[in-house]
Amino acid sequence: MTLADVHVILAQARIYLELWNSAWPAGLTMLAIGSAFAVVLLVASEKLKVKVDPKVEQIHEALPQIDCGACGFAGCTSYAKAVAEKPDLIGKCAPGGTETAAKIAGILNLQVSDSGPAQRPIIHCRAHTEDKTYYGQYQGILTCTAANALPTVQACKFGCLGYSDCVSACKFDALHIIDGLAIVDYEKCTGCTACSKACPRNLIEMVPFRHENMMTVACSNKETGKATRSMCKVGCIACGLCAKQTDLFSVEDNSARLDYQKYQPNEQTETAFNKCPTYVIVYRGPSAPEPRQPKQKPPAKTASA
């Protein structure tokens, strides 16, 4: 090691010492000011303590804390407060489901009766763009609410408009418009009911999903069979074939209905499913098969009309 090397090392050491000498008073000052404030805040937090009901805090922790508003309150905080005061509001939390309800009941020393299977949305329309009939091209504001104000936006006055009102209402990315039709992603859906409130045509119904895949009547057209057939390839023509198989189906206002509260899959419902001439009856659920496509004209008498 030469003398020059030693000089370089000494010079570097001096720089570091200088840096350290100016750094520690700064740190010390920060520490002093910080601790002075800490003491003041400590005293203040004791003096100004707000007593919150420990139950409210516990309930709030049990909730999913996504502030979706499905319970009808502004957010999880206000629901926690309300449910602590009025225990009969238990079970309003759709995303939390029965698990959360049981937890809240445990905190409040109550027992909940089983509220049944989770509610999930089904869409009463299955017509994609190619199935529908249009009179012209809609060029207005691209929301369903705006489009719905125009009677001629599409031929069917009951079908899905496909302008994403439900998609933007969904906080969980569980709804998507695929070829002009809203499709629910049941893996992501929490059952918060936001979409069913958003649809201006009231196409989205919350039904108890008693089974993994539910049979649904995916049409709500109330016009006569002939009129329906003229405007939609997959609309319910109210032929009544399904109602003849089982009591679970009925035909009201020119549209088939399924009693979702009582629905049990059996041979008759399967026959109804197979016999439906326009394939309006479809399965919906996390592992539901793709709906059948109307390729050939069904051998119903309206085919010639």
Partner: protein, 196 residues
Amino acid sequence: MDTLNILLMGFISIVLINNLVFTKFLGICPYLGVSGRIDMAFGMGMAVTFVVTLSGTLTWLIDHLILIGTPLEVTRYVCFILVIAGAVQLVEMYVRKFFPSLYESFGIFLPLITTNCAILGLCLFINLWEIDNLLEAVVLSFGAGIGFTMAICIMAGIRENLNLADVPECLKGAPITLITAGLLTLAFMGFAGMIR
């Protein structure tokens, strides 16, 4: 008499002529965010006034007693933020205790006073303008708070009336609010000619 004159001029200057919101464009976030209703706006103004008075005074003391003249001046920003954060915590506890409904309506904007640039801005302006009198610093800080309260209350009053006005569809919501803010600022620019 001379001191009083200086204090009064300082107060009027910071409220009207050098208003932090209208001429320095500081504190715009709560100015637009909490000015929907006039009672909330007033509450926000009061909270900011308290924080800015307390932190303006304390930072002047810290600046002059500890920092100025030492190499520690570079830590000014950090020290000031420390003071402001402490003061905001104090306000938050106080509001939560005594005005629970106000506390809920403020939501995120109350802790956000910590990062309100109007407050740090004022503390730094007091240093920049070389105010070397504690009383003057106190009056200026208080005046800045009053100026902010005035600005946000005027805005809230206008916006309450705007709700009833027939605003063109494309300007509804944020655009008309920003236009209003711009016009208000223009109006307050007129005060700049008051002092020669």
